[in-house]
Amino acid sequence: MKDLLSATRELLSQLGTEVVGIANEYSDIFGDPTISEQLNRFRIAYEEAISNLDSPTFRIATIGTTSSGKSTIVNALIGRKIAPMEADEMSAGILTLSSSADRKMIIENVEGAVWETGEWSGVSDEELYTHIRDRVMLPYHEKRKLKELPAPQITVLGSLLPVEDRSLLNLPDGVNLEFVDLPGLKSVQDRTNLKVIQKRVNKAFSLVALDYGQVDEQHRKQLLEELKKVVNYLQGRTDSMIFILNRVDLRNSGDLPLEERIAKLQVEIQEILSLPDPPDIIPFSSLLLYYAQCAWGTVAQTEASQVSHDKRSQLLKAMFMDCSGTINQYTQGNRKLKNWFRNIEDSLEDGEPVDDETMRQILQYALAWSGGEKFWYCLRERLFDAFPVLVIAPILAGVLESYQALFTSVDSIVQTRRLETVEEINVKREWVSQRRKELSIRVQKSYSEFKQDVERIIENLKKSAIDANPETRVAIELQMKGLQGFGGLLDAIQEVEKDLNLKIMRPIKDALKKNKPSHELEEKLLQVVNPSLTRELIKAYDMAGRRLINFSRFDKGFVKEVREDDKQAIREVEADERSVRKLYQAVRQAMSARAEFMLQAQSKKIETSVQTLINQKIVELIIYAQEVLPDLNLSEAIIADFKRNMSDNTLTLPSEKMFALIDPVVVNPITAAVKIGEEQVTEYRESGSCFKTVNPVSVTHDIMQEVSLRQVILPDFDTMADQWASGVSNAKSTLWDSLRGWIIKYMDSTNIVLNESINEMLNLIERGLQEQLIRLEQDLNLEIETLENLESRNKSSQKIACQLESIAIKNA
């Protein structure tokens, strides 16, 4: 890594010197406005790259499944207790631990923060820990039950073990390290937070923590599914990933042998994440390493520890208490070692300090027994491969693109300078003018075709009401046209619909049908919906459930009839209606939030899908440009300029609000005869069989009256779920429209960038030809030798750029 970094710095510096040298020597060529602008862009990118290479940062993100002990792992690896370890919800924010000579904590002032924000210097680790836990995570955890909040973003600057002891990772001097402790997926249910986290994860090497307690037959499938979601939703880079199977100290004698368990898990993880090779899985006991490493501190073992005796004693006592099982397991059969540990435990009880030499030995054992040693070895090896991809390539990307654009433009101009007669120049001018028209027509045609294709595809996808299988028909059409890439988009939308069905609609419907207690439903919903929306939904669920008891069952619904003139009854029935509407509103809000989250989770898939589709069109155009512009290095110049300009034009998924649900309440005004009282009347009835007599009889009659009633019909629980499902299904059409707009907007901007690049480069050539004409007329033409010298210098700079490129993409 050290050599690679030095070589990169050296080559980049050479490239800068070469380019500056050429620019100074051939100032007439570099005076052209386009080339001058490209030189300026190169200069900015070059200076930025030089500065970034001076102190590059290697980022390690910890992600993981529920209760996998991510924060304990982070603390064990940095040698400090900073990340809150008590409960998952205490690690709900984004905690960045960055190597620095200063000790500082920065809590970003994100919008809506209900916790303290600002900067603190010179704070002890104990104070940092308490502050993060009690004054940031706790208020965040409490307040997000009431309203949606952005997650806290905390940066702690200070010493980190792998930087203080660079031998652990063979980290070259000057390379900074950053650990990013990210919340579990359970604490991230909204789009905004997911987006922030995705950005941090996809630039980092990922440590993925798994809980050993979940790998048994009963829980493994669930664990693997959660893992798949964690990695895919957070957009972890599967090429730069180590899995840590934490808490292996929980193993008992009846478990499968660890090697066998890990081998099985490797196959399963490889399959579920579609990895090319079996992944590295390190069995780990983070608690043991955490106690021992923090009792030593962040410095290398060759130096004197900075940890106070009190702190060390406290941590070691806790280690003996919490990790006695592991210590017993590894000292079994070695009486001497067992006694050695016992003596230390006794000394601690007697209040005697543990000296550095003894501590070093304890740490060595802890590293070996906890899996720490194996972990550092594995990360060291992997870092070597990941360093060019994760650190060097992103730094060099901008400067190499700018260089390529500049180099190809200069080369084009050099070719105009080789024209020796006015006739030759005039022929080329005519040729350029002709090609400008042809190229413009072709780009426009290709763009229109693409636009029509997208329009038609999306219109077809919206035909689900009349076509039983529109997606298949579209997929067939796409395949016939050779257009790959749309599959991800087709899958993503269907996946969102199905997720809403399974994760939101179904649990609510089931709870309503079985009259389940609200806490059971709440538990399920909290897995996918943020606490404030879940709270609203549960309130609405409770209220609607209580109100519907007073209704009678009726075909596919519930019915209640009340007299219009009974004010109390009308008020009651209106409250009933409101409760069901409130439930619908809460369901709609929860579904919208979840759909937004799911779309964000799949943003990479959708964006890649659309990008692949558009790239196919661009490749077509590039091939065409190469065919029609074989001379003057023109097509290369256009492509290089286009690529550089497109790097600023990234594709990001738009935000969407969706779902409209129909009004569930049907109110019918009806009239019916109702009893309003009774009256006594005398009726005359015959009695007797042979000698009939007619006698007066007093009878009671109901007094009936036609009155106005309000009949309220509410859907039954299955119909409710059908109506929610139909709301989602209808929204799909809106979503397709929105995606169509988004794709076309992106294609529009691509089209503009491409046209700009074409015009820019053709203008450059025309100016070059004009300049050459003047030179010929004034007999100022550069000598062949000078041109060859320029070309040769250009080539040597190109060689340096190629070497840099090969470093950047070596392992990509």
Binding site: T472, M480, D722
Partner: protein
Amino acid sequence: MSNFDLGEIFENNVGKPLKKLFKYGDTDETSDPVKRSRVLLKSRDKNAPSINAPTSTLVLAIRVTSSNIIHFLQKGDYISEDLGEDLYQCTKFLWIGSQQDFNEQISSLFLPYNFGVQSTEESEYDVYLLRIQLRDYDEGFMPNISSNRRADAFLRLPEIGKLADISKRLAINSCENIGFYQC
């Protein structure tokens, strides 16, 4: 054809792994999938619909990008109550009909060697088909049903359905115009 035993190849590649997956009853060892399904139907419990029951056979199409579930099914691992949920999430389109309709319209897609329908140039739109024998009629698998009822039906699948066959990787156009509808 005489150089290799189709039946043996089918049995080794498809039949044996599938044997592990049947939730009730034993599988038939016959190599011809059509004959096999007939024998299989005879041996099923008395509640099974007759061969001509209109909805005895369910076919699910799963896009190749979700092939993980196919691998799980082929291995016979992870068959659990939530298989229905996984299948609901992965199914792109489906078909339901009588065994007779299946034999006439769909069964050729399940033949181990049917070069006309199998994907020769791999595409992201390719699919695998799963044949599931249903014990009970379930309207949730019918066309034009709400997605809520469809999800319910899939969740009942571990109780009422029995996985009978998995096709080879098929080109999407082989599933055109034979009555599949969106899941």
